[in-house]
């Protein structure tokens, strides 16, 4: 569909004036393991194109297609939709310079099925050698994506990235207890032995720590330690929903009128940086053609700034923060990229020290079902551990955690020095806090 961009822009601007064409072309190939064996090799070729216009009454029209024969239909259809569309609170941006940032590893394309299969086999063999009764699944993939945005103000923003990912899941059943652990990463570069070893090492540690099942304590004043993965799942969704331009614009964010106010522990600093090179979410510009920049979300416990696309920025009288993201079938909405939280002063290996009795949160089940907008979180611990006297003594089951992010992140006891990568798109430390309610049926 790449050869249709200019033609569609010309046709659409002749009809509607202010227009924007956005399209993607991507491919992905992956090998999949099920029940310890290779099961499927899959590939996906995907393309689509979208037209957005601001009509003469200042209303937005949008439609898209993945059918090359229907591209011309977009012009009339989008015009008809604009009669009912939202009032545009913005103009399409003008041409600007974009920062240069690396997001492509040329060696990704050369990765073969056999290489991916070999990594999968060796990861699974390493797990089976210690846990022969385990059932492993795995997925190794390589992909390539190109997107382009052109508008009637002369913007031509192109972005290319490679994406390689892998994932390993392990299942162990003993009696009626079913244990599932999983881990993996996403990167612009091919999988290598080091990152497979790291992930396998983390999985083995989780499996070893899960061999005893113990009763969890309950209450509201236990120290609760969050691994980077646990922190990501528990706290980021309810916290970040308050910064989302959509919630700010509608008035449902609890952060309205509180920008600059200290609401969290002063050791907490969280930024979003789309210009961090060679991550799967690196981008020189957003999907509306606005140059990317770093955002200070939380600085020393104080609430920084919301993340905005063009429309939400216009609604609250600000400028876009370069966070308008979309797939080809949807209009842009505010979204973050590479989220980093600063480390604290406790060595990563010492985060268990001094915990007489507490809980370690690793994996959650059912997070996001609560009232996230208000900062609430609650979830079942799909993988959680009991800590006694600074050591993991076993896995806890049938245990739920709940609380409010603004309360829990004001009762922080310790933050680890070194943040760790989570799924290639976050870098987060270990965090120990109180103010999390633990409920259990045991």
């Amino acid at each position: 569909m790449t050869n249709h961009y200019e033609r569609l822009l010309d046709l659409a601007s002749a009809a509607h004036g202010n227009v924007e064409v956005f399209g993607v072309e991507s491919s992905r190939r992956h090998v999949e393991f099920e029940a310890n064996r290779p099961k499927n090799i899959g590939q996906r070729q995907s393309s689509g194109i979208a037209l957005r216009i601001i009509n003469k009454d200042g209303r937005i029209g949008f439609s898209s297609t993945s059918d090359a024969e229907k591209i011309d239909e977009l012009v009339d259809r989008t015009g008809a939709l604009a009669d009912y569309g939202a009032e545009a609170k913005f103009q399409f941006p003008k041409k600007s310079d974009y920062p240069e940032v690396d997001s492509v590893d040329d060696s990704a394309a050369a990765v073969t099925d056999d290489e991916m299969l070999d990594f999968g086999r060796s990861a699974i063999d390493a797990i089976l050698s210690e846990f022969p009764e385990a059932l492993c699944s795995a997925d190794f993939s390589k992909g390539d994506g190109k997107q382009r945005l052109i508008n009637s103000n002369g913007v031509d923003a192109q972005h290319h990235h490679t994406t390689c990912s892998f994932y390993v899941g392990v299942e162990l059943i003993r009696g009626t207890d079913m244990l599932s652990v999983w881990d993996g990463t996403v990167s612009t570069s091919p999988v290598n032995e080091t990152n497979v070893d790291t992930i396998v090492g983390r999985l083995l540690t989780k499996l070893r720590n899960s061999q005893n099942i113990v009763d969890a304590p309950s209450g509201k004043d236990l120290p609760v330690l969050f691994s980077p993965v646990g922190f990501n799942g528990t706290f980021l969704p309810p916290l970040l929903s308050g910064f989302n331009g959509k919630n700010v614009a509608t008035g449902s964010s609890p952060l309205i009128d509180r920008w600059g106010e200290k609401m969290l522990d002063e050791r907490i600093t969280i930024t979003d940086n789309p210009l961090q090179p060679m991550t799967p979410v690196t981008r020189p510009m957003d999907d509306e053609g606005i140059p990317s920049r770093r955002l200070d979300l939380v600085r020393n416990g104080s609430i920084g700034e919301p993340f905005l696309d063009l429309q939400t920025a216009g609604e609250i009288g600000q400028v876009s923060t370069g966070c308008g993201m979309r797939g080809v079938t949807t209009t842009p909405s505010p979204s973050l990229s590479f989220i980093m939280m600063d480390g604290g002063d406790v060595p990563n290996g010492a985060m268990f020290d001094g915990i007489e009795q507490g809980i370690l949160v690793e994996q959650l089940l059912g997070a996001g079902q609560g009232n996230e907008l208000g900062g609430d979180f609650r979830a079942n611990l799909s993988l959680g551990f009991l800590i006694e006297n600074g050591e993991i003594v076993g896995r806890v089951k049938d245990t739920m955690i709940s609380g409010n992010v603004y309360e829990a992140l004001n009762q922080v006891e310790a933050i680890s020095q070194r943040p760790e990568l989570v799924w290639g798109t976050r870098k987060l430390p270990w965090v120990r806090t109180r103010g999390v309610e633990v409920a259990t049926s045991s």
Binding site: K39, I41, F62, I173, T330, R378
Partner: protein, 458 residues
């Protein structure tokens, strides 16, 4: 060339054990209101295809938007499967026998959303939004309306060729109230197969949801712990889907000997009042169809009868490998994915008790209604209510903050001690599995009571 001819031509002469092609055309319309105004109107049309082949038990799959050279897509997929098969020498292709069908299936249409103008749809959604905002104390609202049509042509190397079209209508309406940093929301979801009518006549429901959001600001949160809970038909439907349905999907079991030992047919899970069923053969629901995405006829599968596990859900591969009959539960959300074992419409059959019988003798419990979400990981599950009310001395009393319920299949089903006789249906849900979401599903259940159910604090 017709899709049938294109598919037959592309499949001819390949040397895989099994091969299939799906070609899909789709159109969708979506309205999104955020706050006082319409935020987004979106129409998308799609066209794409998928090839799936099996060689000696190994699979190759490809999805694409470029449909011009189907034959080379088949060749590539066969090469992919063959290269895997060379390393999997002890495997063989096992697929349950299915009678080949050639059929063109008309869509189920009650009131076709495609014949309703955008003007009418936005007018009605505007009207509902106004009802929300007429409620004092509301700070924001979200209304989503969507309709979609999916036309799928499917052919395989066994001689099946089926064309099916399905039209779906969904909506979610929710309202938010705020007091300082305390934000509460209430809402509901609906859906129907081929019936715009489900989006009409919702004035009372909308008004009630808006009022509930404001009232929640004064509702007290519960302390986490174990309690007796009574689930309304909507939430009980989510419960059977999450707590039992997922573990009855045979792809969890067929290569997992340990799980097979736990989930053996004949195992008792609870009292004789437990009777669960799943099936796309139940007509007119969002999870209903005539053939699944492998061309197998839909059925109604008894899963639990009198508290005993009697069946599970299958694709052709899981059926063959467990030696059970195929049930027509292989579904793909669209052409970008291979079909996997999924639920369709999942039911708890009526019991004999009345709702009052369920309340009787409950000294300190919670009546939970409506759903917010749910998730399963093997035997563990959680699901959230949209509403919760205290029960004291057998009476439903004041509203409390909605709760999340959590449990373990093997214990919780034994703790279901009463099933009422007032089955209701819900079609507002979408199910996610293996990256494929939201897949249209339906549920149906009467009120049920669970003793010692773990609920979260809020």
């Amino acid at each position: 060339m017709s899709y049938q001819a294109q598919i037959e031509d592309a499949l001819a002469g390949n040397n895989a054990d099994y091969s299939e092609i799906r070609i899909e055309e789709s159109d969708s319309t979506r309205l999104t209101y955020r706050g006082r105004s319409l935020d987004d109107v979106n129409m998308t049309s799609g066209k794409g295809g998928a090839v799936r082949v099996c060689v000696s038990g190994s699979w190759g799959f490809a999805s694409f938007n470029e449909l011009s050279d189907l034959k080379s897509r088949v060749r590539d997929a066969v090469d992919q499967a063959r290269s895997l098969a060379s390393g999997n020498k002890d495997e063989s292709t096992m697929l349950a026998e299915v009678e080949p069908h050639v059929d063109i299936v008309d869509p189920v249409i009650v009131k076709d959303p495609r014949e309703i103008t955008l003007k009418e749809k936005t007018k009605l959604a505007d009207h509902y939004n106004e009802i929300v905002w007429n409620q004092p104390g509301i700070v924001s609202s979200d209304i989503i309306y969507g309709d979609s049509s999916q036309k799928i042509a499917f052919g395989n190397s066994d001689g099946t060729y089926v064309e099916q079209e399905r039209v779906h209508v969904i909506s979610r309406i929710s309202a938010q109230a705020r007091d300082g940093s305390d934000v509460q929301q209430a809402g509901f979801s609906i859906g129907a197969l081929g019936d715009y009518g489900v989006f009409e006549g919702l004035d009372d429901d909308v008004a009630e949801a808006a009022k509930r959001a404001v009232d929640l600001l004064d509702a007290k949160p519960l302390t986490g712990g174990q309690r007796t809970v009574i689930l309304d038909p909507v939430l009980a439907g989510v419960f059977v889907h999450e707590a039992f349905g997922h573990l009855s999907e045979a792809d969890n079991v067929y290569e997992n000997d340990k799980l097979k030992e736990l989930m053996y047919l004949g195992r008792k899970f609870g009292g004789a009042h437990l009777n669960f069923t799943d099936g796309a053969g139940q007509p007119g629901m969002r999870g209903s169809y005539k053939y699944d995405d492998e061309g197998t006829s839909a059925s109604l599968t008894p899963l639990v009868r009198d508290g005993v596990l009697v069946g599970r859900l299958h694709s052709r591969e899981t059926a063959a490998k467990t030696g059970e009959a195929p049930t027509g539960n292989a579904r793909a959300i669209n052409y970008r994915f291979p079909p996997i074992v999924r639920m369709t419409n999942t039911f708890i059959e009526n019991g004999e008790a009345t709702f009052d019988d369920l309340l009787e003798g409950v000294e300190d419990g919670v009546y939970v209604k409506n759903w917010y979400g749910g998730m399963t990981q093997h035997e563990m599950f959680t699901f959230s209510s949209g509403e919760a009310y205290m029960i004291r001395n057998g009476e439903v009393q004041e509203a409390v903050r909605p709760v999340m319920l959590s449990g373990n299949l093997f214990e919780t089903l034994e703790n279901v001690d009463a099933v009422a006789n007032d089955r209701g249906f819900n079609q507002g849900g979408g199910c996610g599995k293996g990256g494929q979401m939201p897949l249209p599903v339906g549920t149906g259940s009467p009120h049920i009571r669970i003793r010692n159910c773990l609920i979260s604090g809020a």
